[in-house]
Symmetry: C2
Subunit: 384 residues, 2 copies
């Protein structure tokens, strides 16, 4: 089967935005098309990755509005939701549309507008993605993060500082990303002295609440070069779920859906783990990045923190993780995040990452929903 | 490319249900698997067509819950939303998953839980699928229905009775559907004397608010016979959008997205219009069924009402439309509707429709979102 190419990507500034989700989505979609001078009339399918515009804004039918606003009326459109992994699920839908022959040119936009709500309101909306036996008793995602961080530190005798270093690293990376919500370095003391959210995790262990959008454009590999020299291919993509209730898992520090979606994606790409030279992981909180590097198979369980400690996952290390700044400094507009991860891989693999450019022929993105409840893993490769 | 087969379908009783959306979805999903003794562990992908569980129930992440509840933990899952056409979009996603090779066994469930809300609350949630320039000024879908019905009757000198006959026909069909919300005949006087909703349309011109769920199971055609003799194939499937703002259309009685999605689906199937011998159309209100029969190309613009008047679209006519009872009598749980349409086609094409069985080798389902803002058209064929 012919591979699917990514021929363009775009993202808007992440942060506190005045625009509503339709406007944010439209901006990213149009920018992505303009980059390669593809007309909206050439689009067969348009997908919108968005978790909760109905809950956040009281507005549904957003993908219809998007298709119309970008001038693609007539094209097919659908919204894809997989909670905080909606962007990855959107990419999988977009990939399937091209791979199945249903579409020869597919635009995927991810967007979310959140900051007009109070943190308490946003937290309520986000918490409802877990099972009622959890959130209705106050066990929300930050609570899980705290409990699992405690478990990890105890079980593996890992130092608390190593988690803080994830935040320090990703903030350092984010300085070079003009679209990032926070473009400032933080030092380890700032992280360790920030207010407690869920012991042992503190405010600076968590990503912020964010508005923003991102977009990518996909077509069959055979025609990609007719649009641009700057394209890469999706060589592996797969998703998986874990138990919907976290306490049913044998070991909560093992992210089973990350592991199985990565297994499937590597099988499809025919690559070994060490072929990956840049990765965008879902660091909604610091411990989650470490757990992903283990579940994907780069490091043994309990040793992922050492890679952070030793700078392996730094931009200058052998496996740069979150060169974009990650969710931690770039921000986390739910439906946009998985698409923004792929935007970063596209830039890195086509030489368009500017001051944060690394030398990579293959990259991986891992988009996580809930506490690993649902995951999509994507492998992209440069073309030579 | 190999065709995609539908090897099982199921639906729950439509109407006022006590269960929440997760329970409704689980019931339909399990029933669909049991029908052909496919284990949940055999599923690669699970899709949930649902418009608004977040708005109706304050519950998101429903597809994760569904995957877990049916015992398919590990499988990939995503929710597909395309407003009232979510079921059709879900079918397109499920089709793409198999056609692209990403999945060899895909379960699609459509579900919505609505009746615990007041009609006013439900109407607010549904209205938000249209553009704010419309619904914020009070122009909701029933308003459009009234205006377009008036336009149609005036422009084509059509009798008001013909619209009422759509309701009479679909109620008559629904009597034989054990899953229908209303299993009672209505006479034309009852329709014409029911309370006015949006002149000239009255209460009995509109579908009810409904809870319910439906499911279908898809796999490659080459392996379908190893599961069951009772399978059919999806030979054509396509979607399209129209302007998101209805007043921007040249002629509101022409459903452009119905026409173009049907064109694409017929092209893909390689069939002529007259090959279709049974159809499930989106009769959210009576005039919409008539407009679809014209936009699909079975009847000239302005003459669709004559087909109703003459009994052509009766179960005993040459083109039976809505043998299931349609949205009008079967009910319209948003995300479930498009899946239930396909459930009816599966039953008709595999000889499992019981007292409402017709003789058909090919069927068509048309699922409409908004006022034709987005549409998916599906053609299914019996295998001989």
């Amino acid at each position: 089967m012919e591979r699917v190419a990514c021929i363009s990507s775009a993202m808007t500034a992440f942060g506190q935005r005045e625009e509503w989700v339709i406007e944010l989505a439209t901006q990213a979609g149009l920018a992505c098309l303009e980059e390669v001078a593809v007309g909206a009339g050439e689009l067969d399918h348009v997908y919108l990755a968005n978790m909760a515009s109905g809950e956040f804004e009281g507005q549904s039918g957003v993908v219809n509005a998007l298709v119309d606003e970008i001038g693609a009326t007539g094209a097919y459109g659908a919204r894809i939701d997989q909670t905080s992994a909606s962007g990855g699920a959107g990419l999988f839908a977009a990939w399937q549309s091209v791979a199945s022959g249903a579409s020869e040119m597919t635009l995927l936009v991810g967007a979310e507008k959140m900051t007009h709500r109070t943190t308490a309101q946003s937290t309520d909306i986000i918490a409802s993605l877990t099972h009622p036996v959890e959130y209705k008793h106050g066990v929300t995602l930050p609570s899980f993060a705290g409990m699992v961080a405690r478990r990890y530190l105890d079980r593996y005798d890992a130092p608390r500082d190593a988690l803080a270093k994830v935040a320090v690293k990703n903030h350092r990376h984010g300085v070079d990303n003009p679209h990032a919500q926070f473009r400032k370095e933080v030092d380890i003391e700032t992280v360790l002295e920030s207010p407690i959210v869920a012991d042992p995790l503190r405010l600076y262990d968590f990503c912020p609440i964010t508005d923003g959008s991102a977009a990518v454009l996909l077509c069959p590999e055979s025609v990609a070069a007719s649009y641009t020299d700057a394209y890469c291919v999706i060589s592996g993509i797969a998703g998986a779920t874990d138990t919907h209730v976290v306490h049913e898992r044998a070991e909560p520090t093992h992210l089973g859906a990350v592991a199985s979606s990565a297994d499937r994606a590597f099988d499809m790409a025919g690559l070994d783990r060490d072929a990956i030279e840049v990765a965008e992981l879902h660091d909604m909180f610091t411990i989650l990045e470490v757990l992903q590097t283990e579940a994907i198979g780069w490091f043994e369980p309990g040793s992922g923190w050492e890679a952070v400690d030793e700078g392996v996952t730094d931009r200058t290390g052998s496996l740069p993780v979150n060169t974009s700044g990650g969710l931690k400094s770039k921000g986390h507009p739910l439906g946009a995040t998985g698409v923004a991860q792929v935007d970063e891989l596209y830039r890195q693999l086509t030489g368009g990452a500017g001051p944060r450019q690394v030398d990579a022929a293959a990259g991986l993105a891992c988009n996580v929903g809930g506490f690993g409840n649902c995951v999509t893993t994507t492998i992209m490769e440069a073309v030579t």
